[in-house]
Amino acid sequence: MINITIRYYAQLRDERGCAEETLACASGTAAGLYDDLQREHGFSLDRQNLKVAIDDEFCDWSMELREGHRVVFIPPVAGGT
């Protein structure tokens, strides 16, 4: 098991009901983590509509999670015209 921190913003924070949590989870990819969390919490945003950052850098969903990583799922940003 590895310990990771997850931060939530915007709609995901509202749906999760918290801004940050630390989880002990099996190692795997960022994609697998989101899919598990989406199943658990019923997030309305699908993964293809999000980006993911680990330790404050955008990364691929295939990135392997390691001990101490901070993972942030990034909903579409504000836009506007």
């Binding site: 950052a53 955008f58 909903p75 940003v77 504000a78 836009g79």
Partner: protein
Amino acid sequence: MFTLTETPIDAAAAVKTLQDPAAGAAVTFEGWVRNHNESRNVTRLDYEAYPEMAIQEGTRILEESCERFDILNAICIHRTGSLAIGDMAVWVGVASVHRGPAFEACEFIIDTIKTRVPIWKKETYADGNSDWIACHACGAAVADSR
């Protein structure tokens, strides 16, 4: 320099920081909170940033603008927190020797910030409902963003 602030943006002070003896032009852009969006009456906007990445991505965009356009300096200030109608949400300023590149760079900066910098806004409507906009019906915005 890209900064986030929880307090009102002082545009007059910001434009002074652009000053350069070699500059012949300064172009600035102000984004304001308007009272409607897609035919709904908006009463308030809340901006939320992922601060570490917002500053990092915002700074990269300003650096890219200096590489792409013949400009002397570029600055952006973005508000976070709860804003009222008429408040300034974002300020962009660009200084250049001649005006053309400053206009182009200013447009590039604001367009790129809106697609790449992790700052979200929640609209609150006159009927009491609220929405994270761009969160509910997305896809295209993300596909284009990087």
